[in-house]
């Protein structure tokens, strides 16, 4: 019997505000333990929290960028649970009136993954367990998050991976989060169940909490699918529970069953007033949204004429995409700029995080200048590539490395004389070319490029040589 995977994702995205959600402590990552704290984020009795205005703006933008409806009037609630990462013994979150609802993200296959809701909440502190004792750092406590919850629409590991990557990119593009997964600013809870193909009813689900690697999420889903199918096939039943993924062993293991706990006694947070977002504000936030990754992708493919694979590589990093847009301005062949970036320039940024940062030494204008010279055939591509290497190393403009004289190239008469000389001095190569060895032609061109120190236009030289040989 064949089974179908059913996955829903709850993604926590840490917002890149300057200050925490209810106080004005910094949200900076790291720092000495408990050095970014005050009585409010430590949950001292008698303190009064106040919502950070930017958090509302960012949550609304996250909603707008994922096609959500924005609730004009919302509020915060308390979710009660006792665990030392929350000094108040409750988390301030949104329960029944989330700020955004009913959105979706469209995958490359055209299928939409529905977003059930996006709500605002506070992050918890960081715990370090040692020999049964627990050490607590509250620096992260009170850092603002949005939790983005999908409907159980995901059916394959690939869909889960694409959804997370798209979501990550969208949040990055709209500037509400730096979404550094290794620093935990994007974390997923994964709900997984299986059902027989054709069945309407969902199976009992398990939840794997707090995953911050796309790779591990993919492996955990694949493992959990197999595990659940095996249980059902051998006549057993799935228990609703929270499981943990062990990346060393590539297995999931039970943490706690859902029967104990899960009564969070939600109630309205009385210390915080209602949140009202007007239609005008929503309109304003919408207008402030930049071009989203899928919009850029369409433009790169349909207007700039890039192959899909190249366009995808460019939009994967926001800074690279923006650099490319500038560097390809007014070019007849915009693919040329993409080729330089994805080839020679990317070699300087081998890792993912280096491409993400994209600290390139030359402004896009310099690359554009260089390519204009190639397009107008003032320099040939080997000269351009040499110059680009020097530009990247020094951060200087193309004019530093290519003079007016270089750009003049070789005038046609000189080139013709040279070609005659080349044919005379490379008789053997000429003969084997005429004998059908195409390769031999390259050594004749190589001779000309050597003689002119790369200044000759190889295309023109080829024309002239073929003309000369043709007369022989």
């Amino acid at each position: 019997m064949s089974y179908e995977l059913v996955v829903g994702l709850e993604t926590h995205v840490e917002l890149s505000t300057n200050t925490k959600i209810f106080c004005q402590c910094t949200t900076e990552f790291g720092g000495e333990p408990n050095s970014h704290c005050c009585p409010i984020c430590l949950g001292m009795p008698g303190t009064l929290p106040k919502l950070n205005k930017k958090v509302v703006e960012y949550a609304v933008k996250a909603g707008l960028a994922t096609n959500c409806k924005i609730r004009n009037l919302s509020k915060m609630d308390r979710k009660n649970y006792v665990y030392p990462d929350l000094p108040k013994a409750y988390q301030v979150t949104q329960f029944d009136k989330p700020i955004c609802e009913d959105g979706y993200i469209t995958l490359s296959s055209g299928k939409s993954i529905r977003i059930n809701r996006i709500h605002i909440e506070e992050d918890a502190g960081k715990l370090i367990h040692e020999r049964g004792d627990t050490y607590i750092d509250y620096n992260r406590g009170g850092v603002p998050l949005v939790e983005i919850v999908t409907d159980p629409d995901i059916r394959t590991v690939d869909e889960a991976v694409e959804y997370i990557e798209q979501l990550r990119l969208i949040m990055k593009y709209i500037g509400v989060s730096d979404v550094k997964m290794q620093e935990g600013s994007l974390r997923c809870d994964v709900n997984i169940s299986v059902r027989k193909k054709g069945e309407e009813k969902f199976g009992t689900r398990t939840e794997i909490k707090n995953m911050n690697s796309v790779n591990f999420i993919a492996k955990a889903i694949a493992y959990e699918f197999e595990r659940q199918v095996d249980i059902l096939e051998s006549g057993g039943e799935i228990h609703q529970e929270t499981r943990r993924y062990d990346s060393d062993l590539n297995i999931t293991e039970s943490m706690r069953s859902k029967e104990d706990a899960e009564d969070y006694r939600y109630f309205r947070e009385p210390d915080l007033v209602n949140i009202y977002v007007s239609e005008e504000e929503i309109k304003k936030y919408k207008a402030e949204l930049p071009q989203l990754p899928h919009e850029k992708l369409n433009i790169f493919i349909n207007e700039y004429g890039l192959p899909k694979d190249d366009a995808e590589l460019l939009i994967k990093y926001k800074k690279v995409a923006e650099y490319y847009e500038e560097a390809s301005k007014n070019l007849k062949n915009k693919k040329l700029a993409s080729n330089y970036i994805l080839g020679q320039i990317y070699r300087k940024f081998p890792t993912d995080s280096e491409k993400e940062e994209f600290n390139i030494s030359i402004p896009p204008k310099y690359l554009n200048d260089l390519i204009q010279l190639v397009e107008s055939r003032k320099i040939n591509s080997s000269m351009a590539s040499n110059a680009l290497e020097k530009m990247l190393d020094s951060g200087k403009a193309v004019t530093e490395f290519i003079s007016e004289k270089d750009m003049e190239g070789i005038d046609e008469n000189t080139l013709r004389e040279l070609c005659i000389k080349a044919v005379n001095e490379n008789q053997k190569a000429v003969e084997s070319y005429l004998g059908g060895k195409e390769k031999a032609f390259k050594s004749i061109i190589g001779y000309i490029m050597r003689e002119t120190k790369g200044k000759a236009d190889p295309i023109k030289a080829t024309e002239i040589i073929k003309e000369i040989i043709g007369k022989i």
Partner: protein, 93 residues
Amino acid sequence: MVSKEEIIKIAKLSNLFLDENVMEEITEEMAKIVEFADAINTIVCDEDIEFDNINQIENAFNEDEVVESYSSDEVLRNREGGENGYFLVRRRV
């Protein structure tokens, strides 16, 4: 109902010392408090109460500007145990 065992457990978790001879009395008092709080379940509420707030205001916001946090010394001043700037929860229960 609240049992004596529950009172002992709560006292232990809260770091409170309770004399054996007040135990009966406290258990009884606690039971009354919980019973009183249970009255809240009799309230009939409609949708609007969701947005009831004692102050008829909305949108009281902080600006997103960093204010210096408390010094670690001050933050950690009343902690019990702990080291290297961390709070400590000892193994219990």
